[in-house]
């Protein structure tokens, strides 16, 4: 469906009012930044997500969750993006929950996610650019278990996570999708070194060093050597979700900029009266609307299980990053000097866009994927 159902509209309204109020920039992002919070988000807010049932949005009803799809997650994430709300929603409730669904790990971790006590993370990237099939972190068999050795980076909320879903190589070589296995790595695993890094947007991502980390065989998520399908599904859920969050970032930045164009006066009139700015604002509006359509299309094809899901997920991620990038650049430029100040919120949108644009593959990565999926 291209239009929302009544239930979806209700969820959207709930998420919109909850996040505009509790998730507002002054209350969350600026607050945690100011006190130098090591998580970069508030656990109380995560509990509030749980009270609304949102932490279990994609957890099956049989496990006590809402059992909803990518479309519903997108509705929540658009509001998160609009308010720049820092929270584990994307990585824990959308990506992490998806990665362990249907496995024994679900019983272990779903209850904590549902109650808002547990945070998960996903460790995939090993270099500065997203390339999941290049996974090289070694997982060698030892006795009944595995020994992990290598490094990961850009593990969003990795230092806050109770468990880190980690992609490792059990066979084959980097570039091959077969031979990748997913492991559930507990935060206190011996030999795991966690370097908690603050990113440009004040969110936290960890660099992980695995120094011969020993894991039992039951740490494996799914099948040994065949983790790619699950990893790809978790990543695509994350990419579609990130696209929706970027649409929210784009909308929030655009709305703020539009207000400024109407209110700021120069040469005796509102600067929004100048055609040079009007046309750019109208072009931006058009790009953001198209990005939103692409994001919801991606969510819809994921929910319908269509063969086109991968294609549309990459279209959405690339388009949303492009549109949000335009929105924040135009936002800062049209705000003029005030847009360069830390005091004004528009710069926070620019920083958030930079991180979300990179997460799970940037627009270059996804254009490449669109080209390959289209047969060229």
């Amino acid at each position: 469906m291209t239009l929302l159902t009544d239930d979806q509209k209700m969820l959207q309204e709930t998420a919109a009012s909850f996040l505009a109020d509790e998730g507002a920039i002054a209350k969350q992002l600026r607050h945690w930044r100011a006190i130098g919070c090591s998580d970069g988000f508030g656990h109380d807010l995560w509990k509030q997500f749980a009270e609304l049932g949102l932490t279990g949005i994609s957890i099956p009803e049989s496990h006590g969750g809402m059992g909803l799809g990518a479309t519903e997650a997108a509705l929540v994430l658009e509001e998160i993006g609009r308010n720049l709300t820092p929270s584990p929603f994307l990585v824990t409730a959308v990506v992490g929950a998806r990665a362990i669904a249907g496995t024994a790990h679900a019983d272990r971790w779903f209850p904590g996610i549902l109650s808002g006590e547990t945070v998960l993370a996903l460790a995939v990237d090993e270099g500065p650019r997203h390339a999941p099939d290049r996974t090289a972190l070694e997982a060698r068999r030892q006795g009944n278990g595995f020994v992990l050795h290598g490094a990961k980076q850009f593990v969003v909320q990795g230092a806050s996570a109770d468990m880190i879903v980690t992609a490792a190589r059990t066979a084959g070589s980097p570039g091959e999708t077969e031979g990748i296995t997913l492991f559930a790595v507990p935060k206190d695993a011996a030999g795991l070194d966690v370097d908690n890094v603050a990113l440009v947007d004040s969110s936290k991502a960890a660099r992980l060093r695995f120094d011969n980390v020993e894991l039992d065989a039951d740490a494996v998520i799914g099948e040994v050597d065949f983790g790619w399908t699950t990893l790809k599904a978790a990543l695509d859920a994350g990419r579609a979700g990130t696209a929706a969050e970027l649409v929210g970032v784009a909308s929030g930045a655009s709305a703020m900029t539009l207000d400024y164009l109407k209110q700021r006066k120069q040469f005796g009139k509102a600067i929004g009266e100048f055609q040079a700015l009007q046309h750019r604002a109208a072009h931006l509006y058009s790009e953001v609307e198209i990005a939103r359509a692409a994001a919801f299309k991606a969510a819809a094809v994921l929910d319908s299980g269509s063969e086109q899901a991968e294609l549309y997920v990459s279209v959405a991620k690339a388009k949303a990053a492009d549109a949000a990038g335009l929105a924040v650049r135009e936002g800062v430029q049209m705000h003029g000097g005030i847009g360069m100040t830390d005091e004004h919120d528009i710069g926070l949108f620019m920083k958030r866009e930079a991180v979300l644009g990179e997460l799970f593959g940037d627009n270059f990565y996804h254009r490449e994927r669109v080209a390959r999926l289209s047969g060229y």
Partner: protein, 380 residues
């Protein structure tokens, strides 16, 4: 849903039985398009049969009411029909400005007599229409038009000139904006319909940079038009004109879909930088296709902003120009050949596409409309 499934299987069976094999071939050139009209010469029996069969069912205009020659389908049924037509690759049985532009405006503003008289003829492809909007002195500033219609008691007397009239030399009738009062710019315009064979009407094709002449100059010299051939009230034609423009813009925005295929898959670019540019284009094209789908659903459900066709027109036409630029680049020197056995289609399409962001209101006009009506920027 069960009813819709039945509708789908019935439709599929009917199309299978009634759509000639020849009409399931891709459109190769303008010559394959069926425009209909009094003087239409069908390209083949198959083209005639396909139009006849579809018109008989009202499926040239599936969502118009049955009493006006339409199919009376619900939006869901119309979507299924479209999907089934696309599935077998069937050509449109009829392409017509009557369907895409005049019809919707007449359904909204016409009298019952007018609807009963004109709409079934449009649906059956019996009358080919052209659009008399732009004038030499009224392009982007359309409401500045000067073609005059004087009230002569039992008829209107029309004098003036139109320009960029698409296919005026092939059309049977014209829907035409005329000035019936000089007291107000927008409030002095009326919307007239008349036969192109009326004495005093003449046309002159304009040769374009693409080498074709789809547009004409159209001259009116003491043209007598019966009084009842006005749509909407006298001096209130601007409302009709704007409503029709919304449909025209929606139609033109379809150019952004570019036939639906991936440009990269069609051109297989080897140069890495060109491949990158084409991949970026394909992302935008697929995203626009999603927008088009969403817009159509919202428009039907009444959830779209009334000015949103301007956004669609702007985005779709700019995208189509970009597609053609990249097709020229991918074609290299092959694409420069104008007159060879390879046909020169690529350069002709490229040159023709430049008009997309001019006709139906320029990109700049559309951006202005978005700024004013959607973004509510001051002074726009």
């Amino acid at each position: 849903m069960a009813d819709l499934d039945d509708f789908r299987s019935d439709t599929r069976a009917w199309l299978e039985a009634n759509c000639p094999a020849e009409m399931r071939q891709p459109i190769r050139s303008e010559a394959d398009v069926c425009w209909g009209g009094r003087n239409w010469e069908f390209q083949s029996d198959a083209q005639r049969e396909w139009l006849g069969a579809m018109a008989e069912r009202g499926w040239t205009v599936p969502d118009w009411p049955k009493e006006y020659g339409g199919g009376g389908l619900t939006p869901e049924e119309a979507r299924v029909l479209k999907q089934e037509i696309t599935r077998i690759g069937a050509r449109s049985p009829l392409t017509s400005f009557g369907i895409s532009m005049l019809g919707p405006a007449m359904l909204q503003f016409g009298t019952e007599e007018q609807k009963k008289h004109y709409l079934p003829q449009i649906a059956r492809g019996e009358i080919r229409w052209c659009q008399g909007y732009s004038e030499p002195g009224a392009g982007s500033d359309l409401a500045g038009l000067q073609t005059k219609a004087e009230d002569k008691g039992d008829h209107w007397l029309v004098n003036g000139q139109k320009v960029w009239t698409s296919y005026a030399d092939k059309a049977d009738w014209i829907f035409c904006l005329v000035r019936t009062s000089s007291d107000s710019k927008q409030g002095g315009i009326s919307f007239l319909l008349f036969d192109m064979e009326t004495p005093g009407v003449s046309t002159k094709p304009i040769l374009l940079i693409s080498g074709s002449s789809p547009f004409c100059e159209t001259f009116f010299d003491d043209v007598k038009v019966p009084k009842d051939q006005i749509v909407g009230e006298v001096n209130k034609g601007w409302d009709v004109a704007k409503y029709l423009l919304g449909h025209e813009r929606e139609m033109i925005s379809g150019m952004g879909l570019g036939g639906g295929g991936s440009l990269g898959a069609a051109t297989k670019p080897q140069d890495p930088l060109l491949r990158a540019a084409i991949a970026a284009f394909d992302v935008d094209a697929l995203a626009f296709a999603a927008m088009s789908e969403r817009f159509a659903a919202m428009w039907k459900a009444g959830e779209a902003h009334p000015a949103s066709p301007s956004m669609m027109k702007y985005a779709g036409t700019e995208l189509n120009k970009r597609r053609n630029e990249l097709a020229m680049a991918a074609g290299g020197s092959d694409a420069l050949e104008w007159d060879s056995e390879r046909g020169g289609k690529v350069p002709r399409d490229w040159l023709r596409s430049k008009g997309n962001s001019i006709e139906g209101g320029t990109s700049e006009i559309q951006l202005g409309i978005v700024a004013k009506h959607i973004l509510r920027l001051p002074g726009a």
